[in-house]
Subunit: 326 residues, 2 copies
């Protein structure tokens, strides 16, 4: 169905490559700017902020909703990942910015089939060497190859001129910016600041899995990261080791406020910090000091019950300056 026949508030849903491509070729001939937002569904305010950013500088906005099996390990939560397609479409229609929703089957995205066991995989995969093995990649070894591969496919299908990603998935932003630059893809990445709850917790589809007490503990992660950002703003020469001590102090204080009765050991057992790291914003190499004009990515992950929460702040640079592809 051509774009001009759709009411602006009701996105057209495409689920086959052939149907979408016929429309995309028309947009090509019309010279349209096409902004895409790639999601795994379970849309929240953070996704809507990406759609908002896409609508501001494109003629057409396409939202992809696809839960990608290849970025889950066999032990991970592929089956329990929330799937709320009808609600997502209603949310997008209400917001009124989305032209088309891309909602393919697994077979449409993986014509050669796919397994969650990386050793068994056959077919074509994209890997970004040097930026995929640390931080999140250390905990989830095949994750970023899964991400780069599915995003390459989605870019080939959707053919965006601009693609919008949330700062919250920071290493994903770095990996995808490398992929776009290295593989000479004809599109621009845009990184949109993390959308947060009033108490600082970064919006994430996985937040709904937190128990009430874990939900109260979760914002402590951002408190620790924000303390580093504040310390650096006050004294930009501060060594990274000192910034990390600030973060630890802030984390302990925040945990003590949520669990005043518990011992420090009990708090740490509930709030299992997996890493807290200050790295170069592009190479992801650990830093000892933060260079003005370069800045840093401070990122962290915590396990709360069964649910992993990640978060990050940029120090000394903005989202606009980071992950440039032009």
């Amino acid at each position: 169905m051509p774009f001009s026949d759709s009411a602006p508030s009701a996105p057209t849903v495409y689920s086959t490559v052939a149907a979408y491509r016929a429309q995309r070729h028309q947009w090509h001939r019309e010279g349209k700017r096409v902004g895409v937002v790639l999601t795994m569904g379970a849309l929240h305010e953070g996704h809507l902020a990406l759609v908002e950013a896409a609508a501001a500088e494109n003629d057409v906005v396409v939202v992809s909703i696809f839960v990608n099996p290849s970025q889950f390990a066999p032990t991970e939560d592929l089956d329990r990942y929330p799937r709320t397609f009808d609600d997502d479409c209603t949310t997008l229609a209400r917001q009124g910015h989305t032209t088309a929703v891309w909602a393919p089957t697994v077979a449409e995205m993986y014509p050669s089939g796919i397994t969650t066991d990386p050793a068994q995989r056959r077919g074509t995969f994209v890997a970004v060497h040097g930026k995929s093995h640390q931080l999140e990649g250390a905990v989830r070894p095949h994750f970023f190859s899964g991400v780069a591969t599915i995003v390459a496919k989605l870019f080939h299908i959707l053919a965006p001129t601009h693609a919008y990603f949330g700062q919250k998935d920071a290493q994903q932003c770095v990996v995808l910016a490398s992929m776009v630059r290295d593989l000479r893809m004809d599109l621009q990445l845009r990184i949109v600041p993390t959308h947060r709850e009033a108490d600082g917790l970064a919006r994430s589809s996985r937040n709904r899995f937190l128990s009430p007490e874990d939900r109260r503990l979760a914002p402590c992660l951002y408190a620790a990261l924000a303390a580093m950002q504040a310390a650096w703003t006050t004294a930009p020469a501060t060594a990274v080791a000192d910034l990390l001590r600030h973060a630890q102090t802030a984390l302990n204080a925040a945990l003590a406020q949520v669990l005043p009765e518990a011992s420090q050991e009990a708090r740490r057992a509930r709030f299992t910090l997996q890493y807290m790291s200050v790295t170069h914003p592009d190479t992801l190499e650990p830093l000892e000091t933060i260079e003005p004009g370069v800045g840093a990515l401070a990122s962290a992950a915590v396990l709360l019950g069964q649910t992993r929460i990640i978060d990050n702040v940029l120090i000394g640079l903005t989202c606009d300056q980071w992950c440039r592809t032009d």
Copy 2:
């Protein structure tokens, strides 16, 4: 320079992504079919046949000339690979079918840099698992990742609607067809039959490195492959083991004709067969029998002095039926 302003016989040379892309976006708006032929230069009749095929079904033909470092191993012939850019442009102009030549620097194709040592590589690479490790891949372990990566980049830059490859590089055809299908690239591959000398030798830029005697020995490879094809045509139920015996007999007879005085051992020492193999045309799994409707790829490689020569024939299927991407 817009297409319509160029004389048809003088291709416009582009060497930066920005300059080419401005032209490509114009072709997009005009709905042009863009056929590409990817070469490492040193153009011969085989390349011109690819250009001819591209011209027959496209509005625009782009020939890429780039010697790709990432598909040479540190020990291989990157430095001695023939570079004849001016002659190549003259040849294309004389043929009169080429609209544009893409002739980038190494830095333009590898913005993150490149080394011929795969262990040192950083940046984004594409790999086709399951089809890259056997046949040529067994002799050259990183070769097809290098090929898939550079071709992905060239496809992203050139944005062809159709891409033309020679049957002679058979495993490359299989790997690239997988890449296009798996990564959902928006283009069609076309495989063009191998162009041969009068004595059967497949055209190759490396043939110029053969000594006069090795040049006389080289066609024996095709004689062996053609014998299998002939035997199968006469008796399609023939087991692959028997076809390979036919090939060996034909090879021995052909070598004896070129070197009548030499012993069988001396002939085999001069003509070092690296493999001779009959596989499924898409999966590249070795076959015991050839199924009607599926067919087979019979391929071989020989070392003559310092120069490797490869060749293949399709059995029971045509180039048009093979490596389909639509």
